[in-house]
């Protein structure tokens, strides 16, 4: 089953992206209807590119005499159109060769769907555009949604206007799409004002086409198409980046799965090969006519093997074909397989002589494909039971019908014997043979052939009423009759089997395609879950549920019938299936006591959901021959679910970003609102002190400065706790950092002698200079506050083999024993030692928060040489800057 493979995560995503390198880019301005302003938009954007220095020319632009649009074309270089002679008329067309020779950076080509005049290089303009892109020229173009091939029918169905000029979807799939959108009312208004150019063929249906309901529908189509394009490009991106390891190669492994015992070995080998090649792999079962005659044991074995494929992370496919070789050949080609794993059973030479070796044939017919052949144990296929096309119940009816036909022909022959030659009567007997062969199949045909020749011999060949043949000529007639019977029967029955197979595969394809359509319509996970359940119920006649993972276990997202709920034991099975990524419950290997069969929906190791199905009568939920279909449907579901979840993740991400932006805005506005009054207070105080110094003013200023530090610390703390720290790391000279911090804390340090013990040749450190500045501010402030008045404060830096440590030492009460870590916690001040001192306890928490955000560690201890505290900031080796080329100095 190859349906849906085009959407499957595949190396093509990478190839598509790679193929874009070196090619031009296509941007398409997509509109819902004529008159929305696509050309206008294209010209505006082109002009913007031109202003930015791009080399932009007009290849072809239809202004339709609109003044505003024409005004926009001014200033553009226009490549003159060429004239195509046709039936004595000359038609102007875009000059592709002139543009290729001119080689602009960007060319504007209006109306992508345009059909070129007969005699042009390409019949369609989009082919011209493709040639431009291959030549590395960027193209801007325009199109209306109804010109898109896949939507042509849909649009025609409600607008009753069918456009003949269509563009294949792939052209847009490779393009960046910009939607040009105006509300329908506005468009109708523009139409009334005569601002919309209507092509002749549409003018008849004009009144209908431009109805509001049509325009709304068209608009929706256009918007959805654009959204899809974004989707596909996003998936491409995600796959090529997130899953680069998995899908990097272009290898694909296919293993032939059959009902024979020992095929598990093939599957495991295929898995190993796939793993080694980092390639995706598929187990394919070729459904030949013989598959229909499988007994229960064979069916089960096949289902188990297919199950194993899924369990090992492979995909499962079923391909109907007349022979295994045919099927494998086609499947390998369709799936672009590079490695094929097949088994070869030990068979007699006679068997191989008659049937030919499957392996030899495969190797002969699939050049370019590496075929791995593994021995299988000798396996005697059970005798065929030809119940295939004819049901046992019908068997009696079939042979009575044959008998009746032969009797009728015999009666007719007896009547006509008098006027007809004997040979002609023989021809009459061909009738029942052919009818039986075509209507009932091979064996009834053969039986009819035998019966006919017997009847002919008995009733007509002399000696009549005996089975002996006297004339050798008649013997030939008899043999021919028999031969014709056999050949016709075999041909007719093969045709019938193929028609049946085609029918069943068509039904399966239809089921999958319908399923895919339904799922694509889902816009959120709930809708999707409902759709999946409803479809499973419809296709397999089962009860179905879909559960999504949650921290507290699987949660029912949808059920059909909707009132279905799961018992605890079923939930346990579902949980197991989700956890292990393997099927569980009835018909699987695990928790078989459950009435339900649970199947996980996984993608690239992510467990997306689990589906459960059960039958009312408690029998196995899915017949083994339906398993491949179920797998295909599950694959489809996974694909859509993955897309939806990616979408919602992207949404959440952007919401988070919004929240962050809001928080940043709030912080900066609060910071502004608090700083402004502080600025005027502090500035005012400074001026007042200058005019009339007083102890009172000094006190007020000290308090105001405390308030200022407090505000700064509160804001910093809010940033730490909100996790809103963005780092701007750069190489920083400790000398600079210390100098800046000392400058900014000069008021707090008043009355202390600052001693520096920092060697000038210490390595620089990689920190965010602002955050590090705040760390130092708080540590110096702290030392200034807790150090006894008049004592020195020392800043010392030491290089040890594995790190650099910056210490700030004060002389004072020190830290209460055992509280060395606590003091870095928010709102914690050391009891006893600091009752009298002012402080908020925030400062050290900020030091810790900022330091850790930058990869530094902080600690505190009492000094060993004298009373006082020592605060250390440790820079690990990786944050030290070494060996800057001094040669360039």
């Amino acid at each position: 089953m190859t349906a849906g493979n085009t959407d499957r995560p595949d190396p093509d995503a990478l190839l598509r992206i790679a193929a874009r390198e070196g090619r031009g880019r296509l941007k398409v301005f997509l509109g819902a209807a004529p008159g929305v302003g696509k050309t206008f938009e294209m010209l505006s954007e082109g002009a913007a590119r031109r202003r930015n220095g791009a080399d932009v020319v007009i290849g072809v632009v239809e202004t339709h005499g609109r003044i505003e649009t024409e005004a926009l074309t001014r200033g553009y270089e226009v490549v003159p159109r060429t004239e195509i002679e046709w039936h004595g008329r000359s038609l102007p067309e875009m000059d592709l060769d002139a543009i290729l020779a001119r080689r602009p950076g960007l060319v504007l080509v209006d109306e992508l769907a345009h059909s070129n005049a007969p005699g042009s290089r390409h019949p369609k303009r989009y082919q011209d555009v493709e040639e431009l892109i291959v030549a590395g020229i960027d193209v801007y173009s325009t199109i209306n949604i109804q010109h898109l091939e896949s939507l042509n029918d849909v649009v025609a169905s409600f607008t009753r206007v069918r456009v003949r000029e269509t563009v294949p979807d792939r052209v847009l799939e490779a393009a960046e799409i910009e939607i040009v959108d105006i509300p329908p009312d506005e468009l109708i208004e523009r139409l009334k004002d005569g601002k919309v150019y209507i092509p002749d063929e549409a003018s008849r249906a004009l009144g209908h086409f431009f109805s509001k309901s049509n325009l709304s529908a068209l608009r929706e189509l256009a918007l959805r198409r654009a959204a899809q394009a974004v989707d596909a490009q996003m998936l491409d991106y995600v796959r090529s980046h997130a899953l680069a390891g998995t899908w990097a190669g272009s290898e694909r492994v296919v293993v032939a799965v059959s009902e024979q015992p020992g095929v598990e070995t093939l599957v495991r080998t295929a898995k190993r090969i796939a793993d080694a090649l980092h390639a995706p792999w598929t187990g394919v079962h070729i459904e030949t006519p013989r598959s229909r005659s499988f007994g229960e044991a064979e069916q089960l074995r096949l289902a188990a093997t297919l199950n194993l494929v899924t369990q090992l992370g492979g995909m499962v496919a079923t391909m109907p074909a007349t022979s295994v070789v045919e099927g494998l050949k086609h499947y390998a080609a369709d799936a672009r397989a590079t490695q094929l794993v097949v088994g070869k059973s030990a068979r007699s030479r006679w068997f191989e002589f008659r049937h030919g070796s499957v392996v030899d044939q495969l190797i002969r017919e699939t050049p370019g494909l590496a075929v791995h052949v593994l021995p299988l144990e000798r396996y005697a296929a059970p005798p065929r039971r030809w119940r295939g096309t004819v049901d046992r119940r019908d068997l009696g009816r079939t042979y009575s019908a044959i008998g009746l036909m032969i009797a009728a022909v015999t009666a007719l022959g007896t009547e006509l014997f008098h006027i007809l030659a004997l040979a002609n009567v023989a021809l009459l007997y061909l009738l029942p043979v052919m009818v039986a062969a075509t209507r009932f199949g091979l064996w009834p045909g053969v039986v009819a052939g035998l019966a006919s020749s017997a009847a002919y011999n008995f009733f007509f060949l002399p000696p009549v009423y005996s089975f002996t043949v006297s004339n050798p000529e008649n013997l030939v007639t008899l043999l021919v009759l028999l031969g014709v019977g056999v050949v016709t029967s075999s041909l007719a029955s093969r045709a019938k089997v193929q028609a049946d197979l085609a029918g069943s595969s068509a039904r399966q394809n239809a089921a999958i395609a319908g399923f895919a359509r339904l799922l694509t319509a889902a816009t959120n996970v709930d809708e999707l879950a409902q759709a999946i359940c409803a479809e499973l119920t419809r296709l397999f006649d089962v009860r179905s549920v879909l559960l999504l993972p949650s921290p507290s276990g699987p949660v029912l997202a949808a059920a059909n019938p909707p009132e279905d709920r799961l018992a605890t034991i079923e939930l346990a099975a579902a949980q197991w299936s989700l956890d292990k990524g393997l099927p569980a419950g009835r018909g699987s290997d695990t928790l078989t006591a459950s009435d339900w069969l649970f199947h996980p929906l996984t993608s690239a190791g992510r467990r997306l959901a689990v589906i459960g199905i059960a039958r009312d009568d408690g029998t196995g939920p899915v017949r083994s021959d339906q398993l491949p279909l179920l797998m295909s449907l599950v694959d489809q579901g996974v694909l859509v679910l993955e897309r939806l979840q990616l979408e919602s993740e992207m949404r959440e991400l952007s919401q988070l970003k919004d929240r962050d932006r809001l928080r940043a805005a709030l912080l900066s506005s609060v910071s502004h609102d608090l700083r402004t009054p502080l600025t005027s207070i502090l500035g005012g105080l400074a001026e007042m002190r200058r005019e009339a110094p007083s102890a009172l003013l000094d006190g007020v200023e000290t308090e105001a400065r405390r308030l200022q530090r407090f505000v700064a610390n509160l804001l910093d703390m809010a940033r730490v706790e909100a996790g809103a720290l963005t780092l701007h790391v750069e190489a920083t000279d400790l000398t600079d950092a210390i100098a800046s911090a000392v400058h900014d804390t000069r008021q707090s340090l008043e009355g202390h002698d600052l001693r520096l013990d920092v060697a000038p040749d210490l390595p620089m450190v990689r920190v965010d200079p602002q955050l590090f500045h705040h760390c130092l501010l708080n540590l110096l402030d702290n030392a200034g506050r807790y150090g006894d008045a008049g004592t020195p404060i020392t800043v010392a830096a030491r290089r040890t083999p594995d790190r650099l440590t910056l210490s700030i030492l004060d002389e004072g009460g020190g830290i209460a024993v055992g509280r060395e870590q606590e003091i870095f916690e928010t709102f914690r001040r050391i009891e006893g030692s600091d009752r009298a001192k002012a402080g908020t306890g925030l400062g050290l928490a900020i030091v810790k928060g900022f330091a850790e955000a930058m990869g530094l560690t902080v600690d505190a201890a009492n000094r060993s040489d004298r009373p006082g505290a020592r605060f250390n900031i440790h820079f690990p080796e990786r944050l030290l800057v070494r060996d800057i080329g001094e040669g360039s100095m």
């Binding site: 009054p677 005027s680 500035g683 190489a731």
Partner: protein, 231 residues
């Protein structure tokens, strides 16, 4: 009095305007005020200020947008007064042509120092000046000579270029990018750390106490400034 330069204060907070007015008038500058961006542009046109003290958070438009508009119609030096300490914004303002910046809450003496430096730079740009002194350092831009306490200091060519660039804008901040571009010409996309190494070795030769730089001081995340200068 009437010869003193006119300074235009652009800030929407009347308290700040009042504080700035008192501070600046004490230093005997003539002061004009504007509360919005629109008003500021009108004032720049009508009063021909020598310097604009510009708050970035204006009610009607972003202060950053105003910088090129002011520069288009006036040769006034622009000093940013901002409550936001985002370095990106300061660098952006300097790149757009602002002469310097102060962050609220500011020290009034520091503010006056910045104003003086910015006004002086304007004069240098007008007249040109070939000798700049900073502390005990005498930098002769024309002769490529640096003398400290009467002794010639030997600088590498790059060290001299760096010092000269700082001396060209005495007391004013010079951004990392500006220094990198000047020192390494086309190859200016170098990391700040090259600059740090260069400044470090320069300090060893010109600073009285390289561990406590007093001449070449660092501006967090923005650039360097040459202090204690006189024309």
């Amino acid at each position: 009095m009437s010869n003193e330069p006119i300074i235009l204060i652009v800030d929407d907070e009347s308290a700040i305007r009042r504080l700035l007015r008192v501070t600046l008038e004490r230093a005997s500058y003539r002061v004009k005020e504007a509360a919005t961006g629109r008003e500021a542009l009108d004032r720049v046109a009508s009063d021909a200020p020598a310097l604009v003290l510009l708050d970035l958070g204006l009610p009607d438009r972003d202060g950053l947008e105003l910088i090129p508009l002011i520069r288009k119609q006036s040769r006034a030096a622009i000093v940013i007064v901002s409550a936001r300490d985002a370095t990106d914004e300061k660098v952006a303002a300097l790149d757009l042509g602002a002469a310097d910046y102060v962050t609220k809450p500011f020290d009034t003496e520091e503010l006056l120092a910045r104003v003086r430096a910015a006004l002086r730079n304007r004069l240098i740009a007008d007249g040109g000046q070939s000798v700049v002194t900073a502390g005990s350092l005498r930098i002769d831009l024309a002769d490529h000579r640096v003398v400290r306490n009467g002794m010639e200091v030997h600088l590498t060519p790059k060290e001299f270029i760096a010092l000269a660039e700082l001396a060209r804008f005495p007391g004013r901040v010079v951004t990392h990018q500006q220094l990198l571009r000047t020192i390494w010409a086309n190859d200016y996309e170098r990391h700040v750390e090259y600059l740090r190494v260069l400044i470090r070795s320069l300090r060893q030769k010109v600073e009285p106490d390289p561990a406590r730089p007093s001449l070449i001081v660092n501006e967090l995340g923005i650039g360097y400034r040459l202090l204690n200068t006189a024309g």
